[in-house]
Symmetry: C3
Subunit: 355 residues, 3 copies
């Protein structure tokens, strides 16, 4: 079992779901999802228990799905409400239903034991609903890569200098050490690059011309939600670490959804404390993010191919790997805990230490 199941994963943006049945896969579980008549979302196991046809090949009858092969019909709880050709409904005629929640235009599905699904544990940020911040939903990046590598990349500030030299990084940061700390379910890796020329992003966006102080705080909320708090401020201000709000500050969000062991979808968006209400700025940032994420995709897919090949030696770990190492250890622990059913208390969001 290579996935954490007792977790909320992002299935898509609210705008992605309507009356039509949509098929998708999360942690190797296929889902048939649709928006019911009352506007709420339904997620059912996408396989008819009779002849295994995906229910997403069927059609909606009200808030039920009628299988496209023999018409067995399931309501939004997964219960079978009709078996054509017979009057009784066998006890084994059901599909699993998965809890779904929507927050700030983001759709979350709980992939584990439904009794443990607690909407209060869904990832949230006060800034989502703070008018001083601008929220911009991005897109979904599809990667032929394992989700651990995708998520690891998001608690790894060191790659930015080499993978994103024209947008998010520069050679000034190549040798700056990375700090790592953990708090509850969050792992944070961060570093400041003081008094260096602005990187491409802040040349275009912040309008900086002289040297700046630049920070990266990579918060990874287990299992796989990342918030990258990054920004720049005029170097002359010599900004203290806890006064980042005074600079141009962006939270780049990544909701990493394992599809299969070989495929991952990263729903990405950002919120920012500058250019609030400025759609042109949103479009400009969106375009820069796309350049950077295409660079990540190329790296991560090449690694995925390479990891399938035979190995003569174990990979080595170096100083900058502290964040990834902690992340992998925590994931292994969570998976093992689920396997042994010693799941403890559901995880409550403690993602509030980004100031």
């Amino acid at each position: 079992m290579p996935f954490v199941r007792n977790a909320w994963y992002v299935a898509g943006w609210s705008r992605d779901f309507g009356a039509e049945i949509r098929a998708l896969t999360i942690v190797d579980q296929t889902l048939a999802m649709f928006r019911a008549g009352d506007g709420t979302l339904v997620a059912l196991e996408d396989r008819c228990p009779h002849r295994q046809l995906p229910l997403s090949k069927g059609k909606r009858i009200g808030d039920t799905i009628q299988c496209g092969y023999h018409g067995m019909t399931f309501d939004r709880t997964g219960a079978c409400v009709r078996v054509p050709g017979q009057d009784n409904l066998p006890a084994s005629a059901y599909v699993d239903a998965f809890p779904v929640e929507e927050r700030h235009g983001i759709v979350w599905v709980w992939m584990g034991d439904p009794d443990r699904a607690d909407p209060a544990t869904i990832f949230d940020l006060p800034e989502f609903s703070d008018p001083a911040w601008h929220l911009h939903h991005g897109d979904a990046l599809h990667l032929r890569a394992n989700y651990l590598n995708v998520a690891e990349n998001l608690v790894d500030p060191a790659h930015v200098s080499f993978v994103h030299p024209t947008t998010l990084g520069s050679s000034a940061s190549e040798n700056v050490p990375v700090h790592v700390s953990t708090k509850g379910k969050t792992i944070t890796a961060w570093r400041w690059i003081r008094n260096a020329p602005p990187v491409g992003f802040f040349q275009k966006f912040g309008g900086f011309t002289g040297n700046v102080d630049r920070w990266h705080y990579y918060h990874l909320y287990l299992p796989s939600t990342a918030v990258i708090d990054f920004g720049s401020a005029d170097a002359a201000l010599n900004l203290p670490e806890d006064e980042r709000q005074k600079g141009v500050r962006i939270f780049a969000l990544h909701f990493v959804t394992p599809v299969t062991e070989d495929y991952t979808i990263d729903h990405w968006m950002h919120i920012r404390n500058a250019a609030v209400g400025d759609d042109a700025a949103s479009a400009q940032m969106d375009a820069m993010f796309r350049i950077a994420f295409a660079e990540d995709k190329e790296i991560l897919e090449a690694i995925h191919i390479e990891e399938q090949r035979p190995h003569k030696r174990k990979p080595i770990r170096i100083a900058i790997d502290k964040g990834p190492n902690v992340f992998r250890k925590r994931i292994r622990d969570l998976i093992e805990a689920e396997a042994t059913e010693d799941l403890g208390e559901p995880v409550r969001s403690t993602f509030v230490q980004h100031d």
Copy 2:
């Protein structure tokens, strides 16, 4: 061994075979087939015993095939008649030859023990050569699906209401129970839908405007030949079950050929007791069948993909599955009998109870 081998399978229509060598695969056995100088068909194992080149990559020299690599040459019985560069012909230099028969424009190959091949057991219908019936060869439907699912679909009247709502089925039949009987090597599943509006097919073809009685008799001749006797008659006639000949009656024929475990070809055709000699009617029916069979293909290929995925639960069976259940049981028995070499008597055609 997932296939019944001691059986006649359809390799194609007579029109598909000429002087040119044609490569095809039946029950995972590759064949090189051609029409010999005297017009009869030859089917040889499509692999040279020397360096394994398919013989179909070679060329005909008279009624022999000369391998395209080193010129080893095999006659229509599979015997090697030439090894270039040496005078003796090794005993191991041969390929298997498979019995082939043609009937009514259909080409049959016996895939099992040649000593058991009895042309008298080839599927036949008196109507094939009855001038009161019109015969129309259709086409070959290729499916990325296991043949058992394809054949099962042809002893399953219940799917028609849901898979083919615009052509062969309608909601009127959704809850009508299915009867099943067996006789010799034939399994029959049937039902009548009395006094209902005509389905799309009989609106276009039978010219019915008022309500009709409609029947479906799905005869499945083991291992995988299906005859679907379906038709409609004015409901006012209240047609007895054994007087179907008085209505507009069609036999839709399906010759299901397992290619591999993951690929199946369904050669389909029909014969009918109406519009005899009317080629426009043939074309119209052909077009409607293509719509319906594309619907089956979509369902069956989606199921095939789903069956490759891990299963948490066993599929459930419901009342309408009686025909498919009997069919699968009989196939399992045949395969097991072949595996234990307790094959008993060759199967004689008993497919005559369709009246």
Copy 3:
């Protein structure tokens, strides 16, 4: 281990390599190759030991490669010279480096134990640098086939009559026996076809109109370099076997490089004792070779597919197989010797007996 590793294999033509890093695979080992500042070639294991990104996704910094993910940097010996974010260089931070040599526009890489790499054992011919001979580098033929089948084809004169009837062979040679001898690391299969019409190649190229004596000497230098010495002379001359230089004589060279077990690249070229300096003749011969090699490719790829299918019987061997049989036996012995580490002395080129 299906490959001989202690051998020089051809990576490409000199013209294929420049400053840019090029990724390729030999005997299932991925390589990152580039031409260093001093013009010499470098071949490194194409996998960063840190996070497994192929180094070929990185970039050159002088004569080093900087990994594209976190900037670990390796020099041309494979030693790590930089780990960003830390001062020490771990002992495990290295990649393998492979000896590379260039000769006559051909690039060779030693894929085995570097201590055994002896440039003196690289395949060579005196004619390469003889002004009486014209050298023409051809191309690289990619085949979805195992290298043993590709190489075997090059010590097999008997296939020419059947695979290349319009260019290199004719029916006159179909039954002419093949002689085989071995000397050191070279296996030679040959035959003469005396007093027969010229084959297509020598009609176009040699300008012969009457009958000719034609020879084929297939020299296979282990593990997989082939020289096919073929030519024609006026039959009236009744040319002795050791006076081939008096006829129109061509050495068709094939450097067969195993990429994986399922993929092989054949770098092919020719040298000839006629039409020296005549580029139009080179182009004409090149075009005829391409026709012939496309024929080989079709055969060899069909065999490769067939070899993956289940077999009921072992392939048979016939008289013309003597060359291939000896070749396969020698390769098996070499691989077994490497496996048992009883490698003996490195192989010295003894490829001089082609006169």
